[in-house]
Structure formats: structure tokens, C-alpha cells
Amino acid sequence: MEEKFEPKLTAFVCNWCTYAGADLTGTSRIKYQSNVRVLRVPCTGRIDFMLVMKAFQKGADGVIVSGCHPNDCHYTSGNYHARRRWMVYKDLMDFMGMDTRRVTFSWVSAAEGVRWAQLVNEVTDQVRALGPYAEYQQLVGAGIE
């Protein structure tokens, strides 16, 4: 029997909103797909594009980046700064031929436990449909004699 592909997802979330939101999902006993590994950072402003690249390098099929809604940043403007960088990074990813459908940027607040579950479920389904990110894995190990 062919083994069904289960995507590996990495989520970089801010401590104050999305992480708390995901916590709420749990304490509210809302079930969602278990493909995601959550990595907590202080603020979305801390999420360097290299974190996303590292996730893909290490075999992630999809990445979620999420933090406080605009105007809600614990540090006032970290998410605004992050947004600008995402705008350029996503553009560049596309230009370099990376599959931008595999990165999801989102705002999830501490109160949005349901929304977090929905987001993860949607992204998991979407990446499952896309299949493994084999294209990026072509890079790993190539060019070493």
C-alpha cells in the first residue's frame, strides 16, 4: 500500500498573539491537524527570512508565519516592520522560482483559537495537495563531490 503523504509544516509565531492564540486552541480543546511544529519567537519582527529558508532546508513542506494583527503588536510596530519584509521576501521568492504557496503569512490574535485551528487545517490541506517540496530539496546535497 502506498503511504499517504503527510506534510511537515513549521510555524513561526509571535509570543504575544499567535502563540497565545494557539494555546487557546488547545485549552479550548479544539482539534486540528497535527502536522505543524510551532516555534515561538518574541515578535514577528524577529522572524528573519532566513528562518523560513532554514525550515525549507531542513525539510519543511510548508511554513506558517504569524503574529499580532496590525496595530496590536506588543512592541508597537514589530509586525508592521515584519510585514514590509514579507512583502519583499515573498516577491523575491517568487522571482527566484520558489513556490510561494508554501509560505502562509497570517495574523492570529490571542483570542482567535478557532481561527488558528482553521488556519492550520487549511494550510495543511493545501500543502498536502501540493505534495512534498521536493524541488527545494534538490538543493540539499547537490554540488558536493
Partner: protein
């Protein structure tokens, strides 16, 4: 040409600058960077169509800075880079005296001396074209391809990279003493020039130049194996321009696009 030499000579003789950074005749038809430190050395200066290198790179090179105050024979790309270096507080307004050929042609026009950022900004305001047509075409061609074709293109091209860092070292905006590529705690990008190390390096380079690239194309010219790496930073810079409405290299008071924001920055992809 005589006007430029005279101007350079005057500056050196009056002691206003310690060295003139310009061009001289190199191998075959090539022009190479040239440093005139004594008045009689200005005779080696050349300025013509074959001069392409962005000399602003030397404004932050320790060994050159060490010479003292510089006069820089500046093409438009060099002018933009010097302004951007001022915006990034790498050189101070007045640190360098900029020599430009009026009307861009040293044989026709006069040679102007621009000693301040304001003068440089005013001079540059006359020029609106940034990227040359060939590069515009190349970018358009790549953008017209499918995502998969672009992946194939960059994968193939970047796998040829040998990580000699000619692109980085030739770039006037890559002045960091401790480039992230040289830091190993943590080691963000593999040092080895295998496919992954190359791809990640060029992502980092492009991202770090987004909003700072003056689109001189020096990196692409410098690449010994002929990878059009300049298209990556051009694209990133154009992305900033398109989305945030600002361009690097036109003002000494530009805020770095990616360290600032507007609450109403418009995007369409954040869920």
C-alpha cells in the same frame, strides 16, 4: 579630459583631497580604477564610455580611506552609491568631493565639483533613468517565465557560483566589516559553494540589498563565471520601489525601506 585632469590636479595641489579615485587605461580596452595621489599622477586619468565600475566601493575600503580625503570621479551609478552611503551614515556629507562630467561626457562638457550631498542630489535629480534597457529586458523576460522555469533558471545559474564573493566585494553597498556570510555563530548559510549554500547566499544578498541597491550592476559585471546576479538585487530594489515608492541612491536622507513602515502598507497575501 583636460578639464578633469586640471580639476583633479588643483584639488591635489591645494591639498583639498589626498587622492583622486578615477579610472585609467587597463588591459586591452578595459578601464580600471586608478588612484592619483600626487599631482603629476593625474595624467593617468581616463574618463570615457569604457569606464563602468562603481568607484563608490572604494569610499568605504579601509586601505583607501586611510589615504585621507578622497575626490571621486563619479559616473551616475557612483553618485547614487555615494548618496546611499551617506544615507546609511557610512560616509559623511562632505567626506568626498565628487567630480562629474557635465552632460555625462567629459569631452563635451565641463567638469563639475560637487562637494555636498545637496549638490549631488540636485545633480542626480536631472537623471530619471536608472536601469539600462538590456537589464530591463532581462528582468521582463524572467518575469514572463513560469515559476517553474524561473526555478530551473536560477537553480542552474546559481549552482555555477563558486562563492568567490566578487559580487559582494565589488558592491558599494556591501561594506560590512563582518558580513553575515563570514559569521559562524550561528552559521546561517553554509560556507561551501554547493547548490544549497549558493542559493541561500544569493537570497541573503538580494534581501540585504533590497531598498539599498543603487542598480549599478557591478555585482553582475564582477561575477567571474558570468551569473547575472545583479538581476536579483535589481528585482529586490524594484520590488521596494513598486511597493513602498522609494528608491535608494537619490537622497542622503533616505530611511531604509525595510527598517521603517507605514501603517497602510498594502499587501494582498496575509491571511
Amino acid at each position: 579630459m583636460e578639464a578633469l585632469k586640471q580639476k583633479a590636479k588643483d584639488l591635489l595641489e591645494r591639498g583639498e583631497v589626498k587622492a583622486i579615485v578615477g579610472y585609467t587605461k587597463g588591459t586591452g580596452d578595459i578601464r580600471r580604477p586608478y588612484f592619483a595621489q600626487r599631482p603629476e599622477q593625474v595624467d593617468g586619468l581616463v574618463l570615457d564610455e569604457a569606464c563602468t565600475q562603481n568607484l563608490a566601493t572604494y569610499a568605504t575600503k579601509h586601505e583607501v580611506r586611510h589615504l585621507g580625503k578622497l575626490g571621486v570621479v563619479a559616473l551616475p551609478v557612483t553618485q547614487r552609491a555615494l548618496l546611499q552611503l551617506m544615507a546609511e551614515r557610512q560616509i559623511r556629507d562632505g567626506d568626498v568631493i565628487v567630480l562629474v562630467a557635465e552632460e555625462g561626457n567629459v569631452e563635451k562638457g565641463n567638469v563639475k565639483e560637487l562637494a555636498s550631498a545637496a549638490a549631488l542630489e540636485e545633480h542626480l535629480a536631472l537623471k530619471t533613468d536608472v536601469m539600462d534597457e538590456k537589464d530591463q529586458e532581462l528582468l521582463a523576460k524572467l518575469n514572463a517565465k513560469s515559476r517553474e522555469e524561473r526555478w530551473a533558471f536560477w537553480h542552474r545559474e546559481l549552482s555555477r557560483c563558486v562563492k568567490c564573493y566578487a559580487c559582494r566585494n565589488s558592491c558599494p553597498m556591501c561594506y560590512c566589516d563582518h558580513c553575515t556570510m563570514d559569521c559562524n555563530r550561528p552559521q546561517w548559510v553554509p560556507v561551501a559553494s554547493h547548490d544549497l549554500g549558493n542559493f541561500e547566499y544569493h537570497v541573503v544578498r538580494a534581501m540585504h540589498l533590497a531598498g539599498r541597491c543603487v542598480e549599478c550592476g557591478e555585482c553582475g559585471r564582477a561575477c567571474p563565471v558570468g551569473i547575472p546576479v545583479h538581476l536579483l538585487t535589481f528585482f529586490a530594489e524594484e520590488s521596494v520601489h513598486r511597493q513602498f515608492g522609494q528608491r535608494a541612491g537619490h537622497s542622503a536622507k533616505l530611511d531604509y525601506a525595510l527598517s521603517t513602515f507605514r501603517p497602510d502598507d498594502k499587501e494582498s497575501f496575509i491571511r
